[in-house]
Symmetry: D2
């Protein structure tokens, strides 16, 4: 199928540009009988919403999601769920000046090369704006996974530029604008971001997400492995350049005796694998880590080209996140939830003899 759908049985198909009338998606394949309301989705949308702190873009978007179909008398019906968010704050004039210039490090150049034209307003389709719909769709998956399997999906900021966060206290993650799991490090993050903003530069980040409580058995080898689908879902997020499952790159220097997770009747003795063995969930926590690049939309001048192929100096004004990683946590959670729900349904459909009909 085309490129704007993800999932085989639980399928999310997305549309919308940064400065169009609206963004939206169709969530197809959600089983019937799941209690669902807009409030269920608004929470994560508010976590991702821009303009909530001085450390993210000042674009003001209420990001009020509307459920247009698929829910009747408070529960899902099995019909596709249409979701929509109207774009409120579209200051297109901000972009007029770079309408024919390619911001270095941006998708401007590749979209133009691919399609022969582009919607330059705020990056059009390549804008992180579309991630709002991922979060909305992911909210449905999160609720289903919780209700049906007791699976909890959550994440946090693990590193912002030079600042590594090693202590993880889940209770504080949502109490600060960074999704930082160590309250004591928040002032440090704020100071770093304030300095960065003065510089006019941007910075990369690392986000960790995990899922706990899922059963063993999810994942469809050899190509639709659970870890392969997680990798694709994560890499499909704007600015993500790397994905790790479990120990990730650390395995390069590990020996078998050290890496293999031994088992006893009481369970696994370690989780180097990150909850996936042979592409199938082991029942341990799914551990995923991703790297997000620094946004290229900065006000420091950069050498680039215009559509005519001539040299230009590009300065990006407008409103941008100096660290796209800050708002990435709910997005990464959503993508993990979407993949897990798809595989939950696929496992139910494909595996085991079952006379239930």
């Amino acid at each position: 199928m085309s490129g704007n759908s993800i999932g085989k049985l639980f399928t999310v198909t997305s549309f919308g540009e940064s400065h169009g009338l609206a963004i939206g998606c169709i969530v197809d394949g959600c089983p019937p009988g799941l209690p669902l309301s807009e409030e269920d989705l608004q929470g994560d949308l508010d976590r991702r919403r821009p303009g909530t702190s001085r450390h993210t873009t000042q674009r003001r978007e209420p990001d009020q999601v509307k459920i247009l179909s698929g829910v009747f008398e408070g529960v899902t019906t099995g019909a596709p769920i249409g979701l929509m968010i109207e774009n409120a704050d579209q200051r297109s004039k901000d972009y007029a000046k770079i309408a024919t210039q390619f911001r270095p490090g941006h998708a401007d150049y590749t979209y133009f090369k691919k399609y022969g034209l582009r919607d330059y307003r705020g990056g059009g389709r390549s804008s992180a704006r579309e991630t709002a719909m991922r979060v909305a769709a992911g909210g449905i998956a999160k609720k289903y996974l919780q209700a049906q399997y007791g699976v909890l999906v959550r994440g946090y900021l693990a590193q912002l530029g030079p600042v590594r966060i090693d202590k993880v206290d889940w209770s504080v993650v949502n109490t600060n604008p960074f999704f930082c799991p160590d309250a004591n490090r928040v002032p440090e993050l704020e100071a770093y971001m304030d300095g960065l903003r003065k510089e006019g530069d941007s910075i990369g980040a690392r986000v960790n997400v995990e899922a706990t409580g899922l059963p063993a058995g999810w994942g469809e080898p050899i190509f639709d492995r659970l870890d392969a689908d997680i990798a694709a879902a994560m890499m499909s997020i704007n600015a993500v350049k790397a994905v790790e499952i479990g120990d990730g790159f650390a395995v390069v220097e590990q020996k078998g005796t050290q890496h293999r997770d031994e088992m006893t009747p009481e369970g696994f003795l370690s989780n180097h694998a990150g909850g996936v063995l042979g592409g199938i969930s082991s029942g341990q926590d799914i551990r995923v880590s991703i790297a997000l690049k620094p946004t290229s939309s900065i006000r420091l001048p950069g050498r680039s080209l215009n559509e005519a192929g001539e040299s230009v100096e590009v300065i990006t004004t407008g409103r941008h996140d100096p660290c796209v990683g800050i708002r990435a946590t709910p997005i990464a959670e959503a993508m993990l939830a979407i993949v897990l729900m798809d595989h939950a349904l696929r496992h139910r459909g494909q595996n085991g003899m079952d006379a239930s009909g």
Copy 2:
């Protein structure tokens, strides 16, 4: 579709277990008119083949591929290409003793949990044996990409345990059993592997692959991004735990001014992005790096369970690669080629008005 197919327009569907009669695949969607013979595929199969040096499993497999269909008078016809390799050396008795035990770190446990039963002979479907078909199918993609677009896909061993290889001399990669790009380091690798074999342990590795010469414009945002599909393809390889595109995790500590690849009329001034911007190829080299875990099939005892859930001590005899990363280079090349070919066809089909019919 089910889990053993990859690709949308160029689709590879695989079958076969480690100790079954044969392994094979169907390559569907290869355009007609491509000159193709078994010799075209045998080269990479021989590079991947086990038993070629003392550093890999001593299982002896000629891995002679047969083209069963889709080629007529020396060229592809547009019909699906059936490929098959008969399994020659199947010492199933090696596995009888672990028929009811789960090797720690292996897919034994998850396959049993998922399917309720498993083919324990050599890991059955979860064996790296299936990667031979990936290499065969990838050979078709490599030839097409070269013939049609002048795209070259190649890779090398970047690190083996503690041994990092920094110098890359493409001319020596295929002159040693490690695909090591620095001839001077080969003795060091041999010494390390000899020591490891004496210990009875195994080790992880890092493999880098790249594609040069491809045009800008391949990739279908927002979900079927080129980098997302590459990540999935790489993570679908046995033992892979992490994937990087371009600078990968290094971006976490990079600033925007440092990461963004500036452009001049002469071209890009750097390639931190690894040839992908916004999920679409930029025309620069595609740079991918993957981490492979140490195999868990080692003869040092490990605590585990049997199918009854009782504690057992598992010792894996049989023939295994102490470093699966050693033979991974041609496999990673194949997966990259398969993804690129699929996107080449998708781009042709989906983009741009074209009156050619």
Copy 3:
């Protein structure tokens, strides 16, 4: 993927119920550069729109389509096209009385059995209301096929109950509410429908659609044959119970000498095949014929069950088409156009060596 998408490269994903807030779809895979406006789609929507004559349901729906994304400065960008129609006239009270009853011949029973619950308002998802989005999406395909290949897709009412229309004058098809291609028979159709309405009964119909001007070569055997995809698309239309390509069921009594379409340098001497040979377009006109059942929503009482499984007598009031076939012509045209466009793109992507990149 899930069940509300059709097409591989040109993909239409639909949502919306009869009495929800809105119906909509996402059209993914439309090449960039196609001039497109809401006016382009409104024409066919108006042809399908209810309440335009006394012979169709009196539900009043303006069916004004909104393009929410994918079009910038008047042309498609290659991004997914979001389409939406708000539901205006939702007299749900009409349905309250049959909320727990299954209308015989309806999807009420099967939706309830499948999902365990149902949106009973106007048939919910099973309502023909969703066909409005097929027509909107089909409008994009029609415009593309015309602009890119000069392909014309059109249809007409071939039979309504006992009234067979044999003469085909394309110039009159859109001059009457029946899409009848013979102006002289329109009074007969009106008289028949008036009588039927008095009876309170409904009737079946046959609709023919064709495509002219397409090149030879579209269709992907052996399963994604052009005729197979056309059959699925037609059978997916509410109330359709049969599909013919070319001579259809007449071939049962034909001999090979009579059926085979002979060729001369001037072209084919006949078109019994209906433009498809071996699942691939021959360049002749595509000829398709479908049968639509009489709607089961009639005011004459019928024996049925309620959700408790008890006998009930069902009388359907509310507003219904006594002959769903009357408004089916633009819907069948839309589905044919969607399938043809998908195969046009697939053929471009999958076949023939092509250095264009």
Copy 4:
């Protein structure tokens, strides 16, 4: 995906030409634990096999199927099932003389136009030879449906040219080479076929297939409706030009009071719908009827073109079925079984909350 796969969760991917080394397929998505052996598949293959009576092609093919993977210790493992049949009798010389000619009514012309070249030996990929793999794959689906749901899939010849068979005695269907359900009409069929063979002409046929015992609830509206997928599967069979579900084209002249299947606590009072309402199975028998055209491979001369576009007179010698409909019954049964099994799995995966994990 490409064109040689069918099914979403139960996926069959096929390869092979009439005169290649072998034909085969991969059956992906069969649940584990199904007892399966080659004998289970051989029965239907023998029913389809050519050369079993003087009324079908005299090509001699043992059609011995080999299971290459996916079955261990007598039961399916959940891994893909590789199936292969070696081509034994390949008299390619028969075809040399028409290597550059297009047989009228054949796929020769469209394959050449589509791919720019073709495997002319016996029609290559467009040969009915590939249907053997459909029958083998369908055998797995038949066994699963029977074991898991008690669903029985069966069919018969309903009409051969002018000879209509109205009486259906299932016990005699497999006692004659025509799959004729009325033993008394067999002599008539033999006489007709003998006369036809003398003439050197061919004839069309109608085949009916049905499925009994399936539960209500299978089918995924609005596009992946059960009837839509059945229509595609049937139309994908060589020579099929029309498909009916339930009363099919007869509904054109039916009134709602007559067509709607009324329900009582004892069940439905009729089955005009053919077991599908709103694209979902109703629990009644699935009734399907298809039309097969007369083969164009006849020895009576026909006007056609050669690859150079010049007029030629084509006479098809070689070995052909004067009525392809005769051997079509097991093929149509197989396709129906494949679609039903796919939907059985999809329904299990997608619908209803289920805590089983």
